[in-house]
């Protein structure tokens, strides 16, 4: 069977007929061609597939595309605005928070959602906020640093 879904992805509306079992991550990657969202495990552990669903960070490998019907989805491709990097993207670059870059989109998306809720987190809070994302390259240290940098930059922006 196939089911019609409509969702807004990075501000663009998309409607498609999909198999009910199609995972959101495969809808984004294979149907819409948004390949910035990655798959690194089968068991909802690694978080490489993290996107925002109606503003919340979710693991798109554990959401059916049909469950996102009528929702707003933001992926890593939709994070920068008007050619300006999101503060997290810039901070990840500045602080060397990525090496191979495979986990990076998911980690940035998880951190972005978290900072919306807690704009001034401690290192310990950042580490716990990212407990759903695995990175093998960086040892997490520069990721934590970059999230801190981005949080400070965002607060400054808000204050200005």
């Amino acid at each position: 069977m196939s089911v019609r879904v409509q969702m807004t992805v990075n501000g663009e509306s998309h409607a498609s007929e999909v198999e009910p079992r199609l995972l959101l991550v495969h809808y984004l990657r294979d149907v819409l061609g948004l390949t910035g969202t990655h798959v690194g495990c089968d068991t909802t552990n690694c978080g490489a597939c993290t996107v925002h669903l109606d503003g919340d960070a979710v693991k798109s490998c554990t959401v059916l595309a049909v469950q996102a019907d009528g929702c707003e989805v933001t992926t890593i491709e939709g994070l920068a605005h008007d050619g300006e990097l999101h503060p997290l993207q810039d901070a990840f670059w500045a602080d060397h928070a990525l090496q191979c870059g495979f986990c990076t989109p998911g980690i940035i998306m998880a951190a972005a959602a978290y900072l919306e809720r807690n704009p001034d987190p401690s290192d310990d809070e950042i580490r716990h906020a990212l407990e759903g994302n695995l990175c093998r390259c960086t040892g997490y240290q520069n990721i934590v640093k970059a999230v801190r940098t981005a949080a400070a930059a965002s607060r400054k922006e808000v204050a200005a």
Binding site: E19, R21, L22, H26, R29, D30, G33, L34, T35, G36, T37, H38, V39, G40, C41, D42, T43, N45, C46, A48, T75, I76, E77, L79, A80, L85, Q89, F92, W93, A94, H96, L98, Q99, C100, G101, F102, C103, T104, P105, I108, D123, I126, R127, H128, L130, E131, G132, N133, L134, C135, R136, C137, T138, G139, Y140, Q141, N142, I143, V144
Partner: protein, 824 residues
């Protein structure tokens, strides 16, 4: 040693903590990993894998699967009978009998481990092929399996390969022949059985491959560390000339040794694409990754360290039982060689010998995982040094200092016959201690113990051998690898003056584009931003030897430096001609080629290449163009080193170990980009914390994999690990003109023994004197119970066996000495 002529301004590009060139696409979702490469008419492949640890394949019935809509084909081992060669293992040590079974990409007649590929389904849709795979009925006749490598060596054990009549893959040794005499003469011998358990590399991007066959030419995109090696190997397996076979490693999401192989699936997608005349794609699931991608470590090390009561280490013998698994992958049995080569550690030990016995078991083949044999050796040395210190009642740091090779003795030949290039082991330890503040820690430790809080500090002073090369040592007539291990680079100055560097290395996160740009920019007198580094495409640039063994900078970066130097030399000759000066008087300053002492007479590289590409006015003995290639094969390895320390806190009620502090002082020679070095150290240390505390591949006694997902195979998250405090010293290597050494594996090589030593230090008031990894809470609690003489019923972990059979007392050691601790 020649010195590099750098631009004269105070700061060249080399040494700066520049932002990486690699990052903009990766942070915006514009990276291109193998799964992201989409070709028209692509078919998907699903692999049917053995659920049995050891079995004969009785029959394969694919008729139902073939009937399913969208299924293009099902292939088995028989279908692939036309392959020209099996998957390779490239070590042929002279004079050693090596048992290497034929390892075909799809099993022929029998399977040797859970996850062994048996058949493939090819179809139109990635979901449909998974469904169809469930319709392929494979009948197995189970055979007895053997999982424990020591049980596999016993008489009457089930045989993994019946035809060999033994489970021994090979026996090989390195070092002092008279080691037994040296041990017999030692005043003290400390003996331990140290287990370095099986782990997985777990790059966050699993493997994947896409093959495209067009008019007699094959292109393979693969998530691999070794596109060039893969091209060479697949050419032989598939009978496709190398000039018609192109392998591309696009963005690769981490390797850690697990992608340093030529894998079955790469050969199969290539074979299928040619057979079906359509592109074929396979993306590994994590479950497949844990059951079919090579594992690492898995050594049982019987260590005997002999010395004097006043702290002179005189002899070290290690017998390594190396669990190879069911097959010999590319470098499987060679891991013991890596261990043996660094077995002297940082110490001037007169007699050192390693004897390796490789063993087949019904598990996935082991091979490189970040560090590859060197972490195992460092672990056993550094743990045993602490044990020896305890035995003779000496401060373990004092024992280390007393036995360090002094810096004035470099280059230093050690008992294994290898020559360490440069080092200052006292220097890194001193610097590490400056950060640690040991005396203060000992005070805090004492106070905390009174409150029932158990903290300990542990050290590891390590050296390693990297920069793989040199061909004369590791090649066919040396140690016996059937290849050369040089590296190549081409530096091309375009007519407009921008620069392309083509490297034979193939990065997967290290940042070669950044660091190689820095090197080339300085040597050519151009901006870092004007250099582009191309890698990972066998059709671009000269043949290469790829990325592993912390070799990229010391071998590949040096090749870039040499090619860039050649270009700069030619540019200087042209500039000299144009400026009417002698070539020897041209220097590169402020981005200009100018006459020494006459800065007004000069020109940028872009002007010189205009002359080179429109050669109306260059000397007749100079060819047009501005492009040079260099192949670099060093005379020796490079030998980085350092000192790591960590503080742990152990919850003695639950056994949980928390790493609360880490100090890493590493020396990998002069920094090209210090930020990249820090990143490598962070990642390596955390990887090692993973091994020491969390990660373990476990097969049950029937050979079933019980850690087959990331639920069970526990990679640490950000919440489990501390910040790593890093510092460096810079001792240049004489082996290359940049003076650099590698750092990619330093963290995993250095770190695990520091954790074990710290846990023992923490628990010493409770009488714990020894413990093996992984330090899971349950195992730590068992060690505490053992020390307190309080059993907890049936012993659940390996630990019980260590203490019972080979622990304190096994070599005539007296009762545990009170912990002396403390720096002098």
């Amino acid at each position: 040693m020649t010195t590099v002529e750098r631009p004269a301004e105070e700061r060249g590009w080399v040494g700066q903590a520049l932002r990486r060139k690699e990052d903009p696409p990766l942070i915006t979702g514009m990276g291109r990993f193998v799964e992201d490469v989409v070709l028209p008419r692509t078919l998907w492949m699903a692999v049917i894998r053995s659920p049995e640890a050891h079995a004969r394949i009785v029959s394969i019935d694919a008729s139902a699967a073939r009937e399913r809509p969208g299924v293009a084909a099902v292939f088995t081992g028989e279908d692939l009978a036309d392959l020209g060669a099996p998957l390779p293992m490239i070590w042929a040590p002279p004079g050693v009998e090596m048992r290497t079974p034929e390892h075909w990409p799809l099993a022929r007649g029998a399977v040797k481990h859970v996850g062994d590929p048996v058949a493939v389904v090819i179809g139109e849709d990635r979901y449909a092929v998974v469904d169809a795979a469930e319709d392929v009925i494979v009948e197995y006749e189970p055979l007895p399996a053997v999982v424990d490598p020591e049980a596999a060596l016993e008489e009457g054990s089930p045989l993994v390969w019946e035809e060999f009549g033994t489970n021994v893959t090979h026996e090989w040794g390195l070092g002092s022949e008279d080691i037994e005499q040296a041990l017999a003469e030692a005043e003290v011998v400390v003996e331990r059985r140290i287990v370095n358990h099986r782990t997985a590399g777990v790059a966050i991007e699993p493997r994947g491959a896409l093959a495209d066959w067009r008019e007699g030419e094959l292109t393979l995109w693969s998530s691999t560390q070794i596109p060039h090696v893969t091209k060479f190997v697949l050419s032989g397996m598939l009978g496709i000339p190398e000039d018609r076979l192109r392998v591309i490693a696009p963005d690769v999401g981490g390797g850690f040794g697990s992608k340093l192989n030529v894998y079955a699936e790469e050969a199969i997608v290539a074979w299928c694409a040619r057979r079906l005349n359509r592109p074929v794609k396979w993306i590994e699931s994590r479950t497949e990754n844990l059951s079919a991608t090579t594992h690492g470590r898995d050594q049982i090390d019987y260590v005997r360290m002999g010395g004097t009561r006043d702290g002179r280490i005189t002899a070290l013998h290690t017998k390594i039982v190396l669990d190879c698994g069911g097959y010999q992958q590319l470098l499987t049995p060679f891991m013991g060689v890596f261990s043996a080569c660094v077995m002297s550690g940082c110490y001037a030990i007169p007699k050192v010998r390693t004897d390796v016995i490789g063993v087949f078991t019904n598990k996935v083949a082991t091979d490189a995982v970040r560090g590859a044999g060197r972490p195992e050796a460092t672990h056993l040395i550094e743990v045993t040094v602490d044990q020896f210190a305890r035995e003779i009642g000496m401060d373990p740091l004092e024992l280390r200092r007393k036995n360090f090779i002094p810096k004035e003795n470099f280059p230093a030949e050690v008992a294994t016959g290898l020559v360490y290039d440069s080092g200052d082991y006292h220097g890194t330890l001193d610097k590490c201690l400056e950060h640690v503040g040991l005396e203060q820690f000992r005070g805090e430790q004492e106070e905390l113990r009174k409150k029932g809080v158990y903290r300990g500090v542990g050290f590891s002073t390590y050296m390693e051998m990297c920069g793989l090369a040199p061909s004369r040592i590791v090649g066919p007539k040396g140690v016996g690898l059937q290849a050369g291990f040089w590296e190549s680079a081409t530096v091309r100055v375009h007519p407009s003056g921008s620069v392309t560097v083509l490297t034979g290395t193939s990065p997967h996160g290290q940042g070669h584009e950044t660091s190689f740009s820095q090197i080339a920019a300085d040597l050519l007198g151009v901006s870092y931003d004007d250099v582009e580094v191309i890698h990972g495409d066998t059709n671009a640039g000269p043949h290469g030897m790829d990325t592993y063994g912390s070799r990229a900078l010391a071998v590949g970066g040096e090749a870039v430096a040499r090619a860039a130097t050649k270009v700069a030399d030619k540019a200087k000759r042209i500039a000299a001609h144009l400026l009417e000066a002698a070539p020897g008087d041209i220097e590169i300053r402020d981005g200009r080629y100018q006459v020494r002492g006459s800065p007004e007479a000069g020109m940028p590289l872009s002007d010189i290449c205009a002359a080179a590409y429109v050669p109306e006015d260059i000397p007749v003995d100079i060819e047009p163009g501005l492009e040079e290639t260099s192949f670099f094969d060093p005379e020796n390895f490079v030998w980085p080193f350092g000192a790591h320390a960590c503080v742990v806190e152990v919850d003695v009620e639950t056994g949980e170990v928390d790493v609360v502090r880490w100090v890493a002082v590493d020396d990998c020679g002069p920094a090209i980009n210090p930020t990249l070095i820090e990143g490598q150290v962070h990642g390596g240390v955390v990887h090692a914390i993973g091994q020491a505390l969390y990660e373990q591949i476990v097969y049950d006694s029937d050979g079933q994999l019980t850690t087959g997902t990331l639920v069970d195979y526990a990679l640490p998250t950000a919440a489990e690990v501390p910040d790593i405090e890093t510092d460096r010293t810079e001792t240049p290597s004489p082996v290359n003109q940049l003076g650099v050494k590698g750092v990619g594996e330093a963290g995993t090589i250095a770190a695990t023994p520091a954790i074990v030593n710290a846990v023992i230090d923490a628990l010493s008031p409770l009488g714990v004197t020894f413990i093996n990894m992984p330090l899971t809470p349950m195992r730590v609690l068992e060690a505490i119970d053992e020390a307190r003489g309080r059993g907890t019923g049936p012993r659940a972990t390996e630990q019980a066996r260590e203490v019972g059979e080979h622990g304190e007392g096994a070599a005539g050691s007296g009762p545990a000495q009170p912990d002396e601790g403390g720096a002098p």
